[in-house]
């Protein structure tokens, strides 16, 4: 009887649960508990929560978080919905390049976007000075407007991708039959197309809201005195170091409760209203007259340009002569890049090392979990499926704080090692790997495995011999997404890194903070290129784009 349950897959199942318990559930519970203790006497109290609700400062943080996220969401919809409709429905010159470029901001680090806008519109910014010279003043980039600008430009592609995928999944016959029944084209749009796309719009909106509220880098860099929850939780954590992380814990819990609400809305409201259609004939792509085509094209191209321009600015800055915060645009210099590679290459090595280790572990784990979730359906694997997705609702700073305070003393001490970075990255990014591998596994019929077993090859070997080769594109795509997003990860790193394990993201962040835009741009450029090359591979070799993997 015991032998029956003691097979490879149950051992994997059990170890997956142990990993998730130790490094997700337990740390989260630990800070949850800590938030209810007084820092001084470690007794139960609601002091921290009372502070949040009574002190204007904390209330302002909460209000600020909600305000920038809501605005970013509204603007992302305003750009993303038309963008999605236009690219899905109309012939536009260079459309496929336009669409590919439009997805890039999703993978480029948001804090580098923030840096670029400071370079352009900050106090010493290029455009600020240009305008100043001709006697014009520019609006300030600091505070909420800058945060919303960066969020909108980097997150609208989510709305665009979801809307466009949703439109393309509507079978042509639906709209045709509505027309056939006598509806005008406006009526068809209002009564058939729009209701079918609405869940995608809501889904995109929630993602943008979530990403905005959990973001750490942008509000820190560009927000200055405009404090949001994710930033304040980190500040409290830093000041409470060694003490009881009560306030940091309480703020984290507020953040988690918001992200949890969003996820529940997404799960039960949006998904229930989504209609899965296996579209045989996607809607007709219409060719408009030259003028409307030009206008529509300009709209799309403008926002693609605006969202990618910052990264161009950073690349240009990296080869520009600098002196502290002063940039001499137009004067070429390789000093900053040379410095990054020769004098201080350690962050580059660290980032690549950590990302690679995380990715390798994540691919193996992702493969095993995908198999369990897709092929061995049962209550245990259902729970596993929920558990691995749980980290998605935890903001990076929150997970970082949770891991740091849980494992800085006691039996397992991980705080202050590189392993805790890998752990945090693994927990945060493994859902990407699981998602891509399990979606490809779902497309492979079970009978393929059974055929192999039937021909005499034992189950595990059958899986490795027949199924894994078929899954390779999905596994590789998941790995690439894990690798590039780990490279770009700032929020959990900033909490967990220590001296020798400074990563590129931390280094950039610190240089921007101290106004050293030259060195910041040099590392930024390395990061941008390191992210774009694998993405290019993903696109060209595996024939996948971000919309199918994120």
């Amino acid at each position: 009887m015991i032998r029956r349950y003691l097979n490879v897959w149950n051992i994997i199942l059990l170890s997956a649960f142990v990993v998730l318990f130790l490094f997700v559930l337990y740390p989260m519970f630990y800070i949850f508990q800590a938030s209810f203790l007084t820092p001084e006497t470690s007794q139960f109290s609601l002091e921290s929560y009372q502070k949040i609700l009574s002190k204007p400062f904390y209330l302002r943080c909460l209000r600020n978080s909600l305000w920038v996220s809501a605005l970013a969401m509204i603007f992302s919809l305003a750009v993303g919905i038309p963008f999605g409709f236009f690219t899905a429905r109309f012939h536009l010159p260079g459309k496929s390049i336009l669409k590919t470029l439009a997805t890039l901001p999703l993978i480029l680090p948001t804090f580098i976007g923030a840096e670029a806008w400071i370079l352009l519109l900050g106090r010493k910014g290029l455009l600020t000075q240009l305008f100043h010279q001709i006697g014009l003043s520019t609006p300030t980039i600091y505070g909420w407007p800058g945060i919303v600008l960066v969020f909108t430009l980097q997150f609208f592609p989510y709305v665009f991708m979801m809307v466009s995928a949703s439109i393309n999944s509507i079978d042509r016959s639906l709209e045709e039959s509505a027309r056939n029944l006598g509806a005008s084209s406006w009526r068809v749009f209002r009564t058939v197309t729009l209701p079918l796309v609405t869940p995608a719009i809501f889904g995109g909106a929630l993602i943008v809201f979530y990403l905005s509220i959990e973001n750490f880098g942008v509000p820190t860099l560009i927000g200055e005195d405009y404090k949001v929850l994710a930033v304040q939780a980190y500040n409290e954590f830093i000041s409470e170091m060694g003490g009881n992380p009560s306030m940091a814990g309480a703020l984290s819990m507020v953040l988690v409760s918001i992200t949890l609400t969003i996820t529940i809305l997404q799960k039960y409201w949006v998904e229930r209203r989504s209609y899965a259609m296996s579209s045989l004939r996607p809607p007709e792509i219409r060719r408009l007259k030259p003028l409307p085509t030009f206008l529509i094209w300009s709209f799309c191209a403008f926002f693609v340009f605006l969202s990618l321009f910052p990264f161009l600015v950073v690349i240009v800055s990296s080869v520009t002569k600098t002196q502290g915060p002063v940039m001499y645009f137009g004067q070429f210099s390789l000093k900053n890049l040379a410095n990054a590679f020769q004098v201080a290459p350690r962050p580059i090595f660290n980032s690549f090392f950590l990302a690679t280790v995380t990715t390798l572990i994540g691919m193996v784990f992702g493969l095993a979990v995908s198999y369990l979730v897709v092929r061995r359906r049962g209550p245990a694997t259902y729970l596993l499926d929920l558990l691995v997705l749980f980290p998605l609702i935890i903001a990076g700073t929150v997970l970082g704080i949770a891991l740091a305070v849980t494992y800085n003393k006691g039996r397992i001490v991980l705080t202050g090692t590189w392993m805790i970075l890998v752990l945090a990255y693994f927990i945060r990014k493994v859902p990407f790997s699981i998602k891509t591998t399990s979606s490809i596994l779902q497309q492979i019929d079970v009978s393929m495995e059974e055929a192999s077993i039937n021909l005499g090859v034992p189950p595990l070997r059958s899986f490795l011999k027949v199924i894994v080769p078929l899954m390779l594109p999905g596994i590789a795509a998941g790995g690439i997404i894990m690798w590039v997003t780990t490279l770009a990860e700032l929020s959990s790193t900033i909490v967990l890194y220590y001296g020798p394990w400074t990563t590129m993201t931390v280094q950039i962040f610190q240089y921007i903070g101290s106004g050293d835009f030259g060195p910041a741009s040099a590392y930024g450029t390395v990061l941008i290129i390191a992210v774009l090359i694998p993405l290019f591979i993903l696109n060209k070799i595996l024939g996948k784009d971000l919309s199918t993997t994120l």
Binding site: M448, A451, N454, L455, V457, P458, S462
Partner: protein, 358 residues
């Protein structure tokens, strides 16, 4: 290789997929599990292959109990509904897969694969990949891959359901031919009664997890034991008869249907009993005049007709409110009737099959 199934039970949650099924399949027999979807036939096949673990019961190959043996050691050859060809392997590699798993020598693999590909007429396509093959060719590769390991039992799960109608007919004949030549015990699952009749030595009819009837195709067609079997194995006219008397001398049941008298062969039964009888459409004949036949002559009205060339099928309203289906083979052009025409029809006394008595 004889296959013995004893009291197999398998549930999925509260659904009983197989409910205490026992069967004995003889060596070399072509045995078909026939039934509507969800009746448990595929589950039983998967129990034999080892992919479904039964909750109770036993499976034997000859004297050897095989249900505790893991599927990869059972030596069954399975042909899947969707063929399950490995897309990354050529036809040759697909067929050689099971032989390589058995660590067979290179030359022997070469000769065994060539032989089996010859058998299914694919010897020229060995280097192709599955996506370069037609549906029928993929089907042959799947069959070759299952046969090449010389399995104890060949298991086929609706193997023809993805082919078009014409190909289905020629493939089933080919499968039957190969099966007989190799003399391999075969368990075949289908929901298509015509296919089952054409291909099988014996058929087990499944419904709701239970075997309704086992028999040769002709037994099942001519002597169905239940209403379900009758209806599943072909178009069936089912009529309720009230017994009015019994003629012992000629073993004739005298009865009536909505007041119209009829006579039919059958075991003795007492007046007042109700019978449910089956009349296949082709058992009913059209009469030219009222003097054509001494018994069982009835009058009806054509409701609709469908003409398919070699045959014409009429829907007839008769016995007040009954609808009957009649099939006439080799119809003459000038005898075709149209909706609204009156029609005289009759059937022989030994034709009706009694399905139920109460």
């Amino acid at each position: 290789m004889q296959v013995l199934i004893k009291e197999i039970t398998k549930s999925y949650g509260s659904l009983k997929a197989i409910d205490r099924v026992s069967l004995s399949i003889e060596g070399g027999e072509f045995f078909t599990l026939l039934g509507p979807s969800g009746c448990g036939k595929t589950t039983l096949l998967r129990v034999i292959a080892g992919f479904a673990v039964p909750d109770g019961g036993e499976v034997f190959f000859e004297k050897e109990r095989i249900d505790p043996i893991p599927p990869h050691k059972r030596e069954t050859g399975m042909v899947f509904q969707n063929y399950a060809l490995f897309p990354q392997m050529s036809v040759f590699d697909n067929v050689a897969y099971g032989l390589r798993a058995r660590k067979m020598g290179k030359e022997e693999i070469q000769s065994r694969v060539s032989e089996v590909l010859m058998n299914v007429q694919l010897e020229n396509l060995a280097h192709r990949y599955p996506n370069q093959l037609s549906g029928g060719q993929q089907q042959r590769v799947a069959l070759a891959r299952a046969l090449v390991i010389r399995p104890k039992v060949l298991l086929m799960d609706e193997p023809l359901s993805n082919l078009d109608a014409r190909l289905r007919v020629s493939m089933r004949e080919e499968i039957r031919r190969i099966q007989k030549r190799l003399g391999i015990t075969t368990v075949y699952v289908t929901h298509d009664q015509e296919e089952a009749m054409a291909i099988s030595d014996r058929i087990a009819i499944f419904n709701a997890g239970q075997v309704q009837q086992i028999g040769t195709p002709s037994e099942i067609y001519f002597q169905p034991k239940s209403r379900f079997v009758a209806e599943f194995t072909g178009i069936s006219n089912l009529l309720n008869i009230t017994v009015s008397g019994y003629d012992r001398e000629r073993s004739l049941i005298e009865g009536e249907i909505n007041g119209e008298p009829l006579r039919m062969k059958g075991a003795e039964t007492s007046p007042g009993n109700d019978l449910l009888i089956l009349l296949r459409p082709e058992w009913i004949k059209i009469a030219r005049s009222e003097t054509d036949t001494p018994i069982n002559l009835f009058r009806g009205k054509v409701v609709s007709s469908s003409f398919t060339g070699s045959m014409v099928r009429y829907q007839i309203e008769a016995f007040r409110n009954h609808l009957l289906t009649i099939e006439v083979q080799d119809p003459h052009e000038d005898e075709l009737k149209k909706a609204g025409d009156p029609m005289l029809f009759w059937f022989k006394a030994d034709r009706p099959v009694i399905l139920m008595q109460s």
